[in-house]
Every structure is written in structure tokens, then in C-alpha cells.
């Protein structure tokens, strides 16, 4: 079912104000740093949190406004929690049957419905186990089966892969892709990983500081991030400034030269592997040369990711060989260079 969420949750310490519309079958990925309001948004839609102003409408039903608050158990919003929250005293099958039973189905009918979902999520041989006997990935799959078996109009998933190791997360990602695209209603997946967002979602919503700052397809957002968080998530350097004939000047000082002759307020982004490092000031063609000090060094795939404290924090990916040749350590001064053609510029 469709969703129209136009609401604000005001708290003394922070405010979350969201304008979000979604159509049937849409899978929305929600990304943003900690404290951006992602969980608040999900909990408000689910009815686990009262909104301060605005409205939330699911299908044709107004479920919340300033005065009214349809309780969570009557909203038909399924929720998958980060740490699954399977009922520890119930078997996998009884956990999955809990929703149908709560809706008043008889034990046998609820059991049938539960087994159907258990089968679909490939959990048949775990049906008799208790949650304590499951791995993290299995438990999260059961949690998804449990949410789907309650026949929700909308499905919300709060960082479903966050507590899992890499291979379990990969498996769950594939499974989510399959089941969320088959799900007839709106689903919203909050995630901290770029891969989840890219693989699972049809559309991304970027939250920052309690507001939606960008929406678009994963490809659009990855190519043109508008927040540092997303840039870091997809592994890009991002600066914002005023451009004049391709020279982007930052409000706090420093400039990035782009090949495009643009003018006006812009974002400029460039990939870390386009940034070269030198121990002395480089001579030659590059249009961008900056100095800085090394903040951290960490392996990143086959390369080494170097965080440099320059006019803004920047990341550069260099080969292990280059690192050895440069003999760089944390705290060392370093020079960075970047070709103007590597910089993409888009309106802010």
C-alpha cells in the first residue's frame, strides 16, 4: 500500500521533519549518519512514536496527525529490528505464527501461514528451534518471515544487516532484494552500508540532521552525493563551494579546479583513486595541488586508504608499493595532486 508521511517529531534536543511519499511496491533505502532521524522516522510511521505535527497516511487511512494516534498494533506496519527481537520463549514457527495469531486466526490456520513463510525464506529445518539456537543471519531471516507473515501493508527494516558478519550480510542482502521486490506494499530499509542501498533499493532517501536532503535512484545519488556522509559511504571526496569559471572556492578557504567552466553554488566530487600523493611539492600539469598532514592509513581492498587533513579532510587511495616508496606515516606532511578532469561538478 502507498505511504504519505509528512510529519515532524520535535524533541528538546533535536527535530525530525520528514516529507516522504512512496507508491505501492516501491523499495526505499534510507541512509544518513547516526542521529539523522532514520529510526525516528521508522518508529513514527510504525506508530511506536507519536508525531508532533503533520500527518501519516497509509493507503487511504490517516493513521496519525496532531491529535490522533492509531496504535501500532492496528496500523499493519511490519517492522524488522536491527537485533531481530525474536521472542526467546517461542520456537521459530511460533514466532512467525505470532502475527497471524494476534490477528485472531486459529492456531492451525496461523501455523499453516507461518509454515508457508518459513518455507519461502528457506527456514524449514529451523522451524522447531528457539531463537537462542540460531545464528545472526538465520535469526534475521526469521524476523523477516515473521514480519511478512503478519501480512503488513508496509514493511520497515531498521538496519537489518548491521549486526551480521560480511558473508551473512551478503546472503541477507540477496534475500531482501528478492522478497522486497515481491512485496506488494511500500518497504523502507534503513542502512549504513552503501552496498545495501545499491543492491536493495529502487530509490534512496538521504537524511541529514532530521531532514531529507536528497532523494533519487542509487546511481544518481552515488554519482552526485550532496552530503559528506553519502560521499564517504560511496567512497568519494565531496566539497561544496561557489564556482567561477570552473574554480570552486570553499567558504572556509581553499579551492578545487574543475575542467567544466561552471559558475554558481556547486558540489565538486572526485574519487579517492584520482588523488596522488607526494612527499615534496609536485611540479607539472595537475591543476590542483594541496598540502596536508596524514591523519590515518588503512587497508582498503588492494589499495591503502589515506586520510589527509588538508583544507578539508580528503581521502586518497594509493597502492601499497606507492606507500612504501613514499615512506609515509601518520602525522607526516604530504602533498596531494588531482587532475581537473577528474572533478565532477553539479549544482548545489
Amino acid at each position: 500500500m502507498s505511504l504519505a508521511a509528512h510529519f515532524a517529531v520535535r524533541r528538546p534536543e533535536h527535530t525530525t521533519a520528514v516529507e516522504l511519499d512512496a507508491v505501492d511496491g516501491e523499495v526505499i533505502g534510507m541512509i544518513g549518519p547516526n542521529g539523522a532521524g532514520k529510526s525516528t522516522t521508522l518508529r513514527a510511521i510504525a506508530g511506536l512514536l507519536a508525531i508532533t505535527s503533520g500527518t501519516i497516511t497509509i493507503g487511504d487511512t490517516l493513521v496519525a496527525d496532531e491529535e490522533r494516534h492509531l496504535p501500532a498494533h492496528r496500523r499493519g506496519v511490519g517492522f524488522v529490528f536491527q537485533n531481530h527481537l525474536l521472542f526467546p520463549h517461542l520456537s521459530v514457527e511460533d514466532n512467525v505464527a505470532f502475527g497471524p495469531r494476534a490477528k485472531g486466526q486459529r492456531r492451525s490456520a496461523a501455523g499453516r501461514q507461518a509454515r508457508e513463510w518459513i518455507d519461502r525464506l528457506d527456514l524449514l529445518d529451523l522451524a522447531r528451534r528457539k531463537p537462542g539456537q540460531l545464528s545472526g543471519g538465520q535469526a534475521q531471516r526469521v524476523a523477516i518471515a515473521r514480519a511478512l507473515a503478519s501480512d503488513p501493508k508496509i514493511l520497515l527494516l531498521d538496519e537489518p544487516t548491521a549486526a551480521l558478519d560480511a558473508s551473512a550480510a551478503m546472503g541477507l542482502r540477496t534475500l531482501l532484494r528478492e522478497h522486497l521486490s515481491a512485496f506488494p506494499g511500500v518497504s523502507i530499509v534503513v542502512t549504513h552500508t552503501a552496498l545495501d542501498a545499491m543492491v536493495i533499493a529502487d530509490r534512496l532517501v538521504v537524511l541529514d540532521n532530521g531532514r531529507i536532503v536528497q532523494t533519487g535512484t542509487p546511481t544518481e545519488i552515488a554519482a552526485r552525493p550532496r552530503t559528506e556522509h553519502v560521499a564517504a559511504l560511496v567512497g568519494l571526496n565531496l566539497v561544496r563551494g561557489a564556482a567561477e569559471n570552473g574554480v570552486v572556492t570553499l567558504p572556509g578557504g581553499g579551492a578545487v579546479v574543475a575542467a567544466d567552466q561552471v559558475t554558481g553554488p556547486v558540489f565538486a566530487s572526485f574519487p579517492p583513486n584520482a588523488v596522488s600523493l607526494f612527499s615534496a611539492e609536485p611540479a607539472g600539469s595537475p591543476r590542483n595541488v594541496w598540502s596536508g598532514t596524514i591523519d590515518s592509513l588503512a587497508p582498503h581492498g588492494d589499495a591503502v586508504r589515506v586520510q589527509v587533513d588538508s583544507f578539508v579532510p580528503l581521502i586518497a587511495d594509493i597502492t601499497a608499493g606507492a606507500l612504501a616508496a613514499l615512506q609515509l606515516r601518520v602525522g607526516d606532511p604530504v602533498w596531494l595532486s588531482l587532475k581537473a578532469t577528474e572533478v565532477s561538478v553539479y549544482p548545489a
Binding site: V77, F81, L85, F98, G99, A102, S150
Partner: protein, 269 residues
Amino acid sequence: MKSDRARVLGSAPAPLVVPAVAAVAILVVPVVAVVIRAPWRSLPHDLTQPDAILALRLSLETTLTTLGVCLVVGVPLGWLLARVEFRGRSVVRALVTLPLVLPPVVGGVALLLAFGKTTLLGRFLESTFGVTLPFTKAGVVLAQTFVALPFLVISVEGAFRASDARYDDAAATLGASRWLTFRRVTLPLTLPGIVAGGVLSWARALGEFGATITFNGSLPGTTETMPSAIYNTLQLNQEHAIALSLLMILVSVGILTSLRERWISGVAP
């Protein structure tokens, strides 16, 4: 035999060990004295005396009723105190725990002043429902409930607090009302704590003496429970009183062991 910790940190210091041993002695010596002085040979005879059986039966009957009353009203109160924020919650909690620190005799006096035959409430109960509380079995149950209920409420509230309230959220998103969530999620998850609280309050009711005797006197078969019987018998026949005391010690130890094995040291099923 020294543990690793003692080897590394040195032995426990005397200023802590000596008082600790004294504490154990204070608690254990009187109980051991009863066991030593118990008339083991005449025990079967003493415990099958009609008055002993009468008192034991009355105690079991009233304390089990008390336990039932405590569970029926105490578990909901514990849940409210743990899960619902309402005005005056801390006041309610303080009032509920007051009988814990109140001398039981004072509790008995208070019950007399509230439910005694000549009081407003007492007269109302008698004229409307034909119920008289003082000097009746119902009065015994009331006195026992007065002292035992706080134990149940406190431990049940603790159990509800310790259980993760996020399960309530999960249940709500699956369509369960709060009442259903309470029955199918919260109650099963907190059952060990509720059982422990129930046993604790039952043991307290079993040992209740001050409030019961003040409110109800001690009429054999009606209001003379085991503790009253022991007290009354002690004046007439010391051996007999010791036998009854031993019986109560055995019951208490039985309760403690069952608690320990099933609910305290064990993990929730």
C-alpha cells in the same frame, strides 16, 4: 586450596573476613540450636497431635489463598509500576512498600482500625455482604496479604523492568494489543521472576505472626496458624513447640532449595 584470584591479589583481609563470619554465625546458630534441641524421638508423635495438624492445615489453606490473592492483584500492579508512566507512580510505589518496613503488629492494629467490627468499613462489610473480617479465616488471609503482597509486587516489578520492553514494540508491530502482548510475551518471559516473587511472598505469609495475631487473635482451627500455635504452645509444652518450629524450618529450607535450583541460579528456560 586457593583460587587464582587469591593467588594473584592475596588473601581476603581480616577486617572483612571476621565480621562476615560473625554474620553467618548470627544467622545460622539459632537454626542449628532448634535442630539440635529437637525431640527427634517424639517428633512423629508431636507432629501428629490434632492441634498441630489443625494449625498446619490452617496455615497451608490460608497462605495458599493469600498467594492467590497476591498474584491476582500484585502481578498487574507490578506491571503498571514497571511499564506505565502515570502521575504519582513513585508515591504509589512508596505506599505499596510501606508494609515492608512497618512492624507487623502495627499492621495488625491498622487493619483493626480499618476493618474492625465497630469501624465504618467493618460495619459496611457486615451489613452489605455479611462479611466479618477480624477473628476469621478471611481476616487471616487479609493480614497475611498485607505483609506478603509488597514482596510480590517488588520482585514482580523488578522482573518486568528487567525484561526487554522492546519485545512489546515487536509484538505491537505484529498486531498484538497490549493485553495480548502481556499474556503471550511479557508473562512467559518474566515467569521465573514471578514464581520467585510468589514463593518469597508465600514464605512471608507462612511466617506471618504479628499482624495476624493482633487482627485475629488465635482461635484453634480458625485463626491459629503455625506461628501462633508455636507461640502459644511454647508456654505449655516446650518440646512440642520445638517440634513445630523444626517443621517450619524444614518447609522454609525446602522453599529455599527449590527456589535456588529452579529459579535463582538457573537461567530462564
